[in-house]
Symmetry: C2
Subunit: 401 residues, 2 copies
């Protein structure tokens, strides 16, 4: 299906009828842009996936309500302050922003999703944010995908956006998106925000299902440090401006294209992770079932000893085998197979020989695969991980979230 | 009961009738001591707790058999090579060492436990180890606890031993022990060996039970990096030379004293962990049950963001709250309470004020407590953790296990 999906420009505004606007309200001390507005046409459908952390921020509570209502007209996003652990005041502030924006836009407060990212435990600077709403609405335009992706950054070093045009027999459809990440990236979407739009006409029911599946295989399958945050959010909106996606074939192509967009955004989050110099795909196959495969992939991807070995370019297959062994998955170590890049390192539980030089070339690369075959059944899973560097420690021992 | 338990010298040889011996066989390139023998009298009882990693080393397989037989006469330990991931050859080598030692000592191979620690995936240097057995037996003596603790070290920077004398109404009893750790220290006893002896006359049944409970609260409640290894072993032997421990009161005092020995050994492993500059006790109370308390303690203790904050001496309560929130335990963040040292930082879900200066003094200490009260029920748990430092990364990105 890959030849039907073509990368295009425009980011979150690549889909028809999506407008964006962003500005500097002064939430960030750096003076960088920190507020963004995305506007969607009346009649759009929307779905969301949110942090599983019990401790979730005020805007997440509101977004969950707005998604249930399914009448999304706008997404208001600020960076620099997460509005998390701010109690009732935090929720009141978020609701006041929504209702103020709604009266400016001529809609209801529950047409507006609100998302925040940045320091936690500090109240929103409402004196700076409320006056900015008017300017945000006035600035709405079609070509603002790039500035929007920039204004949602926190410790990110570069904006993250990606969009595709998909060639259906009935016509073309766009899927666009932007994301931010940097610290605390883990399965379950740690401190991660992603905003996706499509002009496909797709029902909320179908999109809810596709989105969960897609997030599990992309945003929830990347890990830097295993921590999950209070604000993680993925929202998708369909403007319903283009063709209808409602039969098995078109749903399957749409699903493929959405996964591509989400995978690209996920990998750009990983590549830009704090102190990251390498991105490694942990591909597990041959497990008794997908769930066991996922346990192994996650255990290997989160092992500090594996991650430091990746950083040090060490051919340390023992750490990979040990992390698989304590993952909780059932397998027989005597049929365990391991490749790093395309170099066979272990076969049926025994270390192979003669790979030292070839492997050292693989380990020097910025991105490569670790292929684990448990030799048991048909279960598979993929998790993308990073190295653990001294820089990661330095950044996180200095930065006050 | 603390006044009945007095620290004494002697380490693993502090108990009556325990002899030890150690030497340099040449397994380690450094030329440091690398083989140790502990001898126990005929009629000793023994219990063991071993790694839960599916991938376990050959000596662990043998130790499990020997513990079931309960006729332990000697423990043979080597450092420098873990004899892990060495297949059938590894198990054959370990059995040959046991049978060779048995004929020198006039006992059976299944009277001998064997433990290995060091690099994995490399066969034991049998040509160096077999000739050393004779000298090990000849060197057995009462005052060799110190050299034995030194000879089991790998990347440890100092030997770890601790012993107590316990004052029972019927007479005195000794409990002595030694341990090694350094890398990969986690709950489930990562690359950790501990050897305990007592001259108390205690049945295998009672000791099995006490040991599991004690290991769960000490060796399994420390974490540096969350990785668990292929060789972890805790063995205790009772020489039955002193008084009998068989009633509720004496069992309870023995249990208390054994926990003290294991806790001291656990904390010395943590303090000597790779790149460790701080040891922090995560004390959780007020959980719905002990299992939820343990989930929270473990999640907080393994969070890289919490551990880097400890390293950087940052007052980052948000990272602690977030790690509790994704632990899987059920609690209401609105009744969450947090103290760092004895400084109240959060009460009933809200951040307190005015603690900045006092807290900064606590965070500068080498050791302190983090007290989490979930405000729900009676469940409690304690896990000891460390900071995560740039040194940890450097050491593990260079060291080839």
């Amino acid at each position: 299906m890959d030849n039907l999906v073509k990368e295009i420009k425009g980011g979150v505004c690549a889909s028809q009828d999506v407008l964006a606007s962003s500005l500097t309200a002064g939430i960030k001390e750096s003076g960088r842009p920190d507020m963004t507005l995305i506007q969607l046409p009346v009649g759009s459908n929307s779905s969301g996936v949110f942090t599983k952390n019990l401790v979730c921020a005020a805007p997440v509570v509101i977004c969950r309500e707005v998604m249930q209502k399914n009448a999304l007209r706008a997404i208001l996003i600020n960076s620099g302050n997460a509005n998390a652990c701010t109690g009732e005041k935090g929720e009141d502030d978020a609701r006041l922003l929504c209702s103020s924006l709604a009266s400016l836009m001529g809609c209801e407060p529950d047409n507006i999703a609100i998302c925040s990212t940045g320091i936690i435990g500090v109240e929103l600077p409402m004196d700076k944010m409320l006056p900015a709403l008017d300017k945000l609405v006035l600035g709405l335009a079609r070509d603002n995908g790039g500035p929007a992706a920039e204004a949602i950054m926190t410790t990110d070093t570069c904006p993250k956006e990606y969009a595709v045009e998909v060639d259906f027999p009935e016509g073309k459809v766009r899927i666009g998106g932007m994301a931010k990440g940097a610290g605390m990236i883990a399965p379950d979407m740690a401190t991660m925000l992603a905003f996706l739009t499509t002009d496909a006409n797709i029902s909320k029911e179908i999109m809810d299902q596709i989105l969960i599946d897609c997030v599990n295989q992309t945003f929830n399958a990347i890990t830097i440090d295993g921590d999950t945050s209070t604000n993680d959010t993925v929202i998708i909106a369909s403007t319903r401006s283009a063709i209808k996606i409602d039969n098995e074939e078109s749903i399957s192509l749409f699903d493929f294209a959405l996964k591509k967009v989400c995978k690209e955004l996920s990998l750009s989050i990983l590549r830009d992770g704090e102190g990251v110099s390498k991105v490694v795909s942990i591909n597990v196959s041959g497990a008794n079932n997908d769930s066991d495969a996922h346990l192994v992939a996650r255990s290997v991807s989160q092992s500090l000893l594996v991650k430091t070995a990746i950083n040090g370019e060490l051919p340390n297959w023992g750490r990979i085998l040990a992390a698989a062994g304590y993952s909780g998955a059932e397998f027989d170590p005597k049929v365990f197979n391991l490749k790093i890049g395309d170099i066979g390192v272990m076969k049926r539980g025994s270390a192979l020989n003669g790979w030292e030089n070839a492997l050292s070339d693989v380990l020097k690369k910025d991105e490569y695969n670790i292929e684990i075959n448990l030799g048991e059944g048909e279960g598979t899973a993929t998790v993308w991980t990073t190295d653990l560097s001294s820089d990661y420690v330095r950044i996180n021992a200095d930065y006050r979230t």
